[in-house]
Symmetry: C2
């Protein structure tokens, strides 16, 4: 069928075209079908229909397809019904609990990256992944496909080190310590990180307080070769781009299918050519991993997947039921991390966790003998080498290498939440702490966030401030304070009231 | 946040608005989140974000939302982040295999009808329905919610009769015989039907050859009260509108979740106030119901659901592995049905099936004694009362009551497919027969379709025509013939070659 193009100047994240219902009937096609459009080349698009948005004889074309066609508006193209997409059939197989072969997984991931799946298909893919999961083979192929559909970095020297934290625990600024400690000991660690989607600040949001975080894969390679490490936003590179596309369905459904989580973590490590990877698995109430058993399974699966991909992976189950350190929110966390680097001033939990993880990497990379990694990590903090390395990293990423913790601006509007009774801090609600920090403006308002004055088990008196909320805008402070008061993210009770016999987590 | 409206004049089937990424960050929202927009009233919308489609300070509004706001472009509205939609949480519960309560199902169906679910959510809902199914309680609540979210017809006189055929078998024009037979015996049968989506012609497509099929629920009631029956397109009424919205996800995924199929069938019956319903379940290769066991389960579930809703339901498992009668496609099927009404001229399979099903309804409605329904149905065909009633129905729906089978125009371009060898017809491929009819132009080109010259088990000689393809357009005939020759939807073989001992379906 010959149709005249009508450009709708909107990007909708899918290769979609709009037919008048009469033309669609004549072609025998329905919404969700595929057509091929022949201009000077032939491209595939997803059909939608309308009674009135485009006239019969006209094809409504959204920006993604329009740019592909390189045709002017009013130009006439030839349109054919196309076979149902192969990816659609593959997704149907998943829904029927059938296993996929490698070729099928490659095709699916390619269509995800090319935005050649409709939202309907993408969502069914994620839902079926969530419900049924995937076999070890499928997860390996998925990971490899996610690596192969993006850019890769190939370093000339090895080993390459990397680190990842499973999300969910607030204030987890440890990468700002781990990366300089590892790089200061002569190992390469090109760390790509995410921005917060549901959190109060990802490592990329934090690092952005100090310097630029958006670099190409080539720049990541060059900077790492120069100073030993970087702390950049993965989304600015084209490394394992499938992951960002899958979030389009995962986020609105509040799911992170297990197989997709494994693949997305390891694809990013694989794409930068990592040899040795440490993975931090925060465990406990309010994190993504409810208990140690689940944490151990996740650790085994990550180690196994790493082995299949030729990477050494070690995992650390860490205590995640309360925030790491005493701050949540980009600038506050950066200030806290810099203080540790400057003079080891800061919460023990933060220093312990950072040096423990850095120590594992130092051992894996051969910079420290077995069981002496943590010691070397602590030494690297103490002797100022980690701070010096952090300054090099900040400088090469375009920031001020002479920045100190005192220079970091935090929100000028602050308010306290105080204990409503004498007692002990017995519970943090991680999710609500993050929510309060977000309401205060984090991560977009860099100065917004929370400082905690009391931690788990500490005694408080009625009226003592338990936390302070920071905001850059007064109205956001008000909303955050009101919510914190109403929802009470920290529970204070007389300790004996809730003392029950049971297992106590031994780690951390 | 105050934002200026920018209207995108496109209907996208969802309540969606487009934020500049900077405004979205400031509000702390991500694609897939909900916002509330306050104009003179407050409405909810689904968030999408863009780097460049709308400027910071501007809210891109698609037509569905724009029309709701009744605001002019350039007007400023107040926008707030809203809580995650309740329906989203309910869908997540389904994905976690938890059962839903009645209130949750009501909310979900209301959001489907109001187009307040994103494609992502709708697809996850259908995928989880497909994978896990629903309990009997859930299916009852789903059906009731589908009834309650649309218009209902309440007749003053009873009983109200209805009939439904599970799809999948080509040429199933029996409603054109069943409805007039039943109505001619004094029973009310307000039959709403669908148009073909993947088929070669639904009852509504067929009836449209003779008269108008688009009427409001009120008109359906009035016409039924006047002449005893109608044959209209359900999509033009607002009866059980959820079903049409669900197709938006079901069709592209090629799924029809069992629980949704039960609910959608029975909701349409419930909404028109049916007391007695007969359901035709075509069974066998190429239909939706692969074997008798599955057919019996479906029958039990439909009877049970009817009982819960206060309807008497009887089911008939019918032979579905080959077409009903000898024609496929709107005009050809109408001509065949009219010939039966005019003088009982036509294939035995069509007459047998139609009178069997009409007979069940006559017995259920008390118009015939037990076991004498089919006899009365046949008598009603023979004595011309069914034809007279069909003419009344055609007339009240705005058609020519004096139409005869000879008046029906079929496609002027025809081509034969001939047997490539001596033998017997041993296999029909229903799906390919439908595909060939669709390629010839059915159901949109009313004159397009297929006539079968041979049926199952009949002997053919090499070169005998087995089927004739009809089309209104020569190029469509060519495509259909080429495809039919290549794919050979009717298999001819020497009978003994494939004779195997086994069960023979005893019915029909």
């Amino acid at each position: 069928m010959q149709l005249k193009l009508q450009h709708f100047d909107i990007k909708i994240g899918q290769h979609k075209v709009l037919f008048n219902i009469e033309d669609a009937k004549e072609l025998g096609i329905n919404p969700g079908d595929r057509v091929r459009i022949r201009d000077h080349e032939s491209i595939s698009a997803i059909v939608d229909t309308t009674m009135d948005m485009v006239k019969a004889g006209t094809l409504g074309v959204f920006t993604e397809v329009y740019e592909h066609l390189e045709a002017g508006a009013d130009k006439t193209v030839e349109v054919f019904p196309a076979l149902r997409s192969k990816s659609g059939k593959i997704i149907k197989k998943m829904m029927d609990k059938e296993h996929l072969n490698r070729e099928e997984i490659n095709l699916l991931v390619k269509d995800v990256v090319d935005e050649n799946l409709s939202d309907i298909e993408l969502s069914a893919f994620m839902t079926a992944s969530y419900i049924y999961g995937m076999s070890d083979d499928e997860i390996e192929w998925l990971t490899r496909a996610m690596i192969d559909t993006g850019e890769r970095i190939e370093f000339d020297t090895h080993p390459i080190m990397d680190k990842h934290s499973i999300g969910g625990v607030p204030g987890n600024k440890i990468s700002l310590l781990v990366v300089p400690i590892v790089a200061a000991n002569g190992l390469l660690i090109p760390k790509t990180s995410s921005r917060a989607i549901t959190g109060a600040g990802g490592t990329a949001d934090l690092m952005e307080v100090l310097c630029n975080v958006e670099f190409s894969a080539q720049e990541v390679k060059e900077m790492t070769e120069k100073v030993g490490g970087v702390l950049v936003w993965g989304g600015a590179t084209n490394i394992a781009p499938a992951d960002d596309k899958l979030i389009r369905a995962e986020y609105p459904l509040s799911i992170d299918p297990y197989c997709q989580m494994l693949a997305s973590i390891m694809a990013k490590k694989g794409a930068i050519g990592a040899d040795n990877v440490v993975i931090d698995i925060p465990t406990g109430a309010g994190t993504k991993v409810a208990n140690i058993q689940e944490g151990q399974k996740l650790a085994r699966d990550l180690v196994n997947l790493g082995h299949r991909l030729g990477m050494n992976v070690e995992c650390a189950l860490t205590y995640g039921s309360s925030p790491i350190g005493r701050t949540v929110g980009p600038a506050l966390e950066v200030r806290e991390a810099l203080k540790v680097l400057e003079n080891l001033e800061g919460p023990n939990s933060l220093i312990e966790k950072s040096t423990a993880l850095a120590g594992i990497l130092l051992e894996m990379g051969g910079a420290a003998p077995r069981d002496h990694g943590k010691e070397l990590a602590m030494e690297t903090l103490k002797n100022g080498k980690a701070l010096a390395k952090m300054r090099e990293i900040i400088e090469i990423q375009g920031g001020d290498p002479n920045v100190s913790s005192d220079d970091i601006q935090v929100g000028e509007y602050t308010g306290d939440i105080c204990a409503s009774a004498d007692g002990y801090v017995i519970e943090f609600d991680n999710k609500w702490l993050i929510e309060v920090a977000r309401l205060a403006g984090a991560p977009n308002d860099k100065g917004a966030g929370i400082t905690l004055h009391k931690k788990m088990g500490e005694a408080v008196k009625k009226g003592d401030p338990i936390l302070t909320v920071y905001a850059e805008k007064e109205f956001k402070l008000d909303i955050a304070i009101t919510t914190a008061q109403r929802t009470n993210p920290i529970v204070v009770e007389g300790m004996l009231l809730r003392r029950v016999p049971g297992t106590i987590y031994g780690f951390q």
